[in-house]
Amino acid sequence: MNLNMVQAINQALAQALAADERVVLLGEDIGPDGGVFRATEGLSERFGTDRVMDTPLAESGLVGAAIGMAALGLKPVAEIQFLGFIYPAFNQIVSHAARLRNRTRGRFGAPIVIRTPYGAGVGALEHHSESTEALFCQIPGLTVVVPSSPVEAKGLLLASIRSEDPVLFLEPTRLYRAGKEEVPEAAYEIPLRRARIVRPGADLTILAWGAMIPISLQAAEEAAAAGHSAEVIDLRTLSPMDEEAVLASVRKTGRALIVHEAPRAFGAGAEIAALLAESALLHLKAPVLRVTAPDITVPLAKSEAAYYVDAGRIGAGITRLMEF
C-alpha cells in the first residue's frame, strides 16, 4: 500500500498491538484524538483504552510507568508529543531505563519504546524543532533509532518494539507527510544497529539520518551531473552506531561528509569524525567535513531557513571535499 510515514507508523503500531497482547501504548492525546500527528489514529477504538492509554500530562510519570509496566512483562510504547517536551522524562530515561540492565546485573531490562517527533523544517512553534539526539546517544544502554522513509519507519519500529532494550525512536516531523511510498502490508522488521547504503557511490560518502536523507540524495544526484559519485549512508540506528558500515564506505571512497540538522558542536557528527580519525585516517583523501546547523537555538518560523541544512549546502560540501 502507498503510505506516508505517519500511516506506516500507524500500521506498525496496529500490527504490533494485534500480534502481541503484551504491547500497550501510552501517551498524551494518543487515544480518541489519535495523537497530535494522528500516528495512533483509530487504535484506541480498535484495541481499547486500556491498551491505547491517554495519560495525564506528565512525561516523567508516563515513562516511569512504562518502565514499571515492562518489569511485569508488558511491552510499552510511549509517545512523547515532541522531543522538545521529553526533558521532564529525562531522568527516568537516563537514570533508569538505560541502566536497569546494568543495575540488576541482567535480571531486569527496560524493553520500552519511546516514540517522539523531532527536527526542524516545518516552521513549528518554539521548542518543537530541536534535534537533540546527541544528548541521548551518549547514554550507555539506550538505543537511538531514526527512520528516513515510510518503509524504514515501519520495519525499524517493529524491530524496536521487539527489542529487549529501551529504544528512543525519533520520527522526523518533516518526513511525516513528505511523501508516500509502497510499504509492504505484512509485518516486517528492519534489524537495529545496521546502517544501509541508500545510494552507492565511489568518490565520497555522505553520512546522514532522518530528514537529511532525502536532501542528501538530492545533493548526490546534483553532484553526479558534475561527475562526483557520492555514496549515501543512512545510519538508521545512531547509537550504538554501525561503525563497520561507516568505516567500510569511507575506506572505499576516501572522503566523508557528515550531514546533520542538529547544531555542530558536540553533535553526533563529532563522534563519526572521531571514529574516522581513529580508524580510517590513512584512507582519507580529504579532511572529514560536517554540514550542520549552527550552534544556535532553532529560530522561529520566519528565520528557520537561515538555520536549516539544505541540499545547496550539502552540494557545497561535496564540492569542497572533491576539490581539496
Binding site: D54, L125, R264, I296, L300, A301, A306
Partner: protein, 360 residues
C-alpha cells in the same frame, strides 16, 4: 477572607455575578472605580478582538500556529488586573489577556506568533518572563522569584499562570511544595478550561477540584468562577495582598472553558461535543460583564461603539506594525546565544553570511 469563606474541598466556588450579570454577592464586590470597570471591559474586548484577529491572520497564512484565548478574557484580565508595576508575572502560552493587561505591546505579541524573533523582547521595565511553552516549567521559576523578593526584602508578589494539564506535571507539584515550605509570596492561578488538548479534566486528575490540591502543600486554595471577571479580580487581589504581606502562597483555580481549538493545528470537534461548547457560550464572560456595567449605568451602546472603534484601530495598527517589521537578521539569530559571542560561533556566522550571499 475569601479563602476562609469558600471551601474548595466542598465544591464551593467564588462567584459575584450570575451568568446574566446580576450581582449575587454584593458583599464581595471588589473596590473598583467606574474608570477601573471600564478599563477592565476595554481590556477584555481588546483581548477577544486581538485574538479573533490572530485567528483570521492565521487562516490567511499571515501568522503561524496560534493558541487562542477565546473564553479566557475574564480570568486572564482578572488575574493580571491586581498586579502592580513592581510585581512579576510568569505566564504560560495561552495568556494574551495577561500580556495586554500589563501593557505588553500587541504588535510584539503578534510578532512571536508570526514567527519573528522580534517577539522575544519583553519591553524594558515590564517584570514579565517570556511565556513558557513547555507545560508547567514556569511554576518553579515563579517560586524562585518570589523567594528572591522575600530574601531581598522587596514587598512584591509574583503571579504565575498555567492550565489544568500543567497540574499533572512534576514541576507543578515541586513548585507548590517548595512555595509552601518556604512561604513564598507567590500566587498560582490555574485556568481550568476543562481540556488539555484532547484530555478532559476527569482524565487529568482524580481530585474533585484543582484548588483543593493546595491543602496538601499547606496553603489556601480557592476555586473561582473564571468567567466572572469581578470574582477573579477580588480573589487574585486578595491573594496578591496576602503574598505581599508575608502570608505566603495561594492557589487559585479559575473555572473556565477553552472556547476555541487547542491551537490552530488542532480540531476540537474530534473530542468534544457541540452541546458542551454551547453550554459554555451561554456563560460568556464578556456578555456577563457588559450586562453588569449596563445595570450600573456605566455602559451603553454609545460607549461600546467608541470602544469598538478604538480597539479596532489599535489592532489594525499593531498588525501593520508587526507585518512591516522584517524578520530577524542573521546576526540577531547568533548574538543572543551568549552574552559574548564565542569565536567558533562568530566563525559560523561569517560562514553562514557567505553562504547566504549577504542576502540577509
Amino acid at each position: 477572607m475569601l479563602t476562609d469563606a469558600f471551601d474548595a474541598a466542598r465544591g464551593e466556588r467564588v462567584g459575584i455575578l450570575d451568568p446574566d450579570g446580576r450581582v449575587l454577592r454584593p458583599d464581595l464586590l471588589p473596590a473598583l472605580t467606574p474608570d477601573d470597570l471600564r478599563r477592565v471591559l476595554a481590556l477584555m474586548i481588546l483581548t477577544r478582538e486581538a485574538d479573533r484577529k490572530a485567528l483570521l491572520l492565521q487562516r490567511q497564512g499571515r501568522l503561524g500556529t496560534f493558541a487562542s484565548s477565546l473564553g479566557h478574557e475574564a480570568c486572564q484580565v482578572g488575574s493580571a488586573f491586581g498586579l502592580r508595576a513592581e510585581d512579576w508575572a510568569f505566564p504560560y502560552f495561552r495568556d494574551m489577556g495577561l500580556y495586554l493587561t500589563v501593557g505588553y505591546p500587541l504588535a510584539t505579541y503578534y510578532h512571536y506568533w508570526m514567527g519573528n524573533e522580534a517577539g522575544f523582547r519583553t519591553p524594558d521595565g515590564l517584570n514579565l518572563f517570556p511565556f513558557a511553552i513547555p507545560v508547567a516549567s514556569q511554576i518553579p521559576q515563579a517560586v524562585g522569584a518570589a523567594l528572591a523578593a522575600k530574601h531581598l526584602g522587596k514587598p512584591l508578589a509574583v503571579l504565575t499562570t498555567f492550565g489544568d494539564g500543567a497540574t499533572s506535571e512534576g514541576d507543578f507539584h515541586e513548585g507548590l511544595n517548595f512555595a509552601g515550605v518556604h512561604r513564598a509570596p507567590v500566587v498560582f492561578v490555574c485556568y481550568n478550561n476543562q481540556w488539555a488538548i484532547s484530555t478532559p479534566i476527569s482524565r487529568q486528575t482524580a481530585s474533585a477540584s484543582i484548588a483543593q490540591k493546595a491543602a496538601a502543600y499547606g496553603f489556601p486554595g480557592l476555586a473561582v468562577d473564571g468567567n466572572d471577571v469581578l470574582a477573579m479580580i477580588a480573589a487574585v487581589r486578595e491573594a496578591l495582598d496576602r503574598a505581599r504581606s508575608g502570608g505566603g502562597p495561594t492557589l487559585i483555580e479559575a473555572f473556565t472553558y477553552r472556547m476555541s481549538h487547542h491551537t490552530t493545528s488542532d480540531d476540537a470537534s474530534r473530542y468534544r461535543s457541540r452541546e458542551e461548547v454551547e453550554t459554555w457560550e451561554r456563560r460568556d464572560p464578556l456578555a456577563r460583564f457588559r450586562a453588569y456595567l449596563a445595570a450600573q449605568g456605566y455602559w451603553d451602546q454609545d460607549f461600546e461603539g467608541r470602544l469598538g472603534a478604538e480597539t479596532g484601530a489599535r489592532i489594525e495598527a499593531a498588525v501593520a506594525e508587526a507585518e512591516k517589521t522584517p524578520p530577524a537578521s542573521l546576526e540577531d539569530l547568533f548574538v543572543f546565544t551568549y552574552k559574548e559571542i564565542p569565536a567558533r560561533l562568530a566563525a559560523q556566522l561569517a560562514e553562514r553570511k557567505m553562504q547566504l550571499g549577504g542576502a540577509r
